[in-house]
């Protein structure tokens, strides 16, 4: 499935993601990592801790609705794989980000921005394995 190359929209989106990361550190002193925020939501350290996590997750879910208000349509969500593969992939992602202590937002944006050697090695590892997995699925297995 072809997708359109969108350098401008993607840069603007990236700037907003970065802005959110900076604002979260400025206000609450936290890393903007989806994995960490979600994991802590299910086992918050305190009631206060639960509230800000619930609020930021609610805000994230509101994001596409704001997009809809601005653009007149929902952001594209095209899933080029079967439901069983989606579920297996999701489960594997959950295991990986828990052991790896982060994902694209925590390690990929915040950790890289802090020039953390830990995050840089995590990002290099998952990018490599994502690329290999896509290559194997699409060009070796040919799915």
């Amino acid at each position: 499935m072809e997708t359109e190359f969108t350098p401008l929209a993607s840069t603007i989106g990236g700037i907003l993601i970065g802005t959110a990361s900076v604002l979260l550190m400025l206000t609450l002193g936290r890393i903007m990592g989806a994995t960490g925020i979600l994991a802590g939501f299910f086992s918050p350290a305190s009631r206060e801790d639960f509230y800000w996590r619930a609020a930021i997750l609610a805000g994230m879910v509101t994001g596409p609705l704001v997009y809809f208000a601005l653009m007149g349509q929902m952001p594209a969500v095209e899933v080029p794989i079967s439901t069983p593969m989606l579920l297996i992939g999701g489960f594997i992602v959950g295991i990986g980000v828990t052991y790896g202590s982060g994902c694209t937002s925590g390690h990929g944006v915040c950790g890289m921005a802090r020039l953390s050697p830990r995050s840089i090695s995590a990002v290099a590892t998952f990018m490599l394995f994502t690329g290999l997995t896509v290559f194997v699925i699409r060009h070796v297995i040919g799915a």
């Binding site: 072809e2 997708t3 350098p7 929209a9 603007i12 989106g13 700037i15 993601i17 970065g18 604002l23 550190m25 400025l26 206000t27 609450l28 903007m32 989806a34 299910f42 609020a55 930021i56 805000g59 994230m60 879910v61 994001g63 952001p75 594209a76 969500v77 899933v79 080029p80 439901t83 593969m85 989606l86 579920l87 992939g89 999701g90 489960f91 594997i92 992602v93 959950g94 295991i95 990986g96 980000v97 828990t98 052991y99 790896g100 202590s101 694209t104 990929g108 944006v109 921005a113 802090r114 050697p117 830990r118 090695s121 998952f126 990018m127 394995f129 690329g131 997995t133 896509v134 699409r138």
Partner: protein, 145 residues
Amino acid sequence: MRIIVAYLIGIVFGLGISISGMANPAKVLNFFDVAGTWDPSLIFVMGGAVVVTFLGYRFVLKRPMPIFDRQFLLPGSNVIDLKLLGGSAVFGIGWGIAGFCPGGALPALGTGRIEVVLFTIALVAGIFAARALMHFRRPTAPTQA
């Protein structure tokens, strides 16, 4: 106040994900498909986000503390071990299969699409499975070492 601020920051993040294309598995997977239907857009997402965060953190972290909390909570560990690299490799495999990462999927829930809901349920199940596995293994760790 903390709750309002967190909600607004969530919206900025969710809007950014929506505009960037990170909520779209087809686009994410195409970024990695250099040998096929390559779409390099995501390098612009990462570039924009990392540059802004890099510059912003330099100013923010000069402050003695955040505005609504007493301290900055930064990851203290510098250990690059098998847990980090193995976990990241496993994450990469799952991301390559599904095309959603947690940061892309959570905002995408707002589109109401059933695929995103299913992915997120599987993601949370994976997080709990990994935790259970860690708890199960921990007591045996000293004898292995």
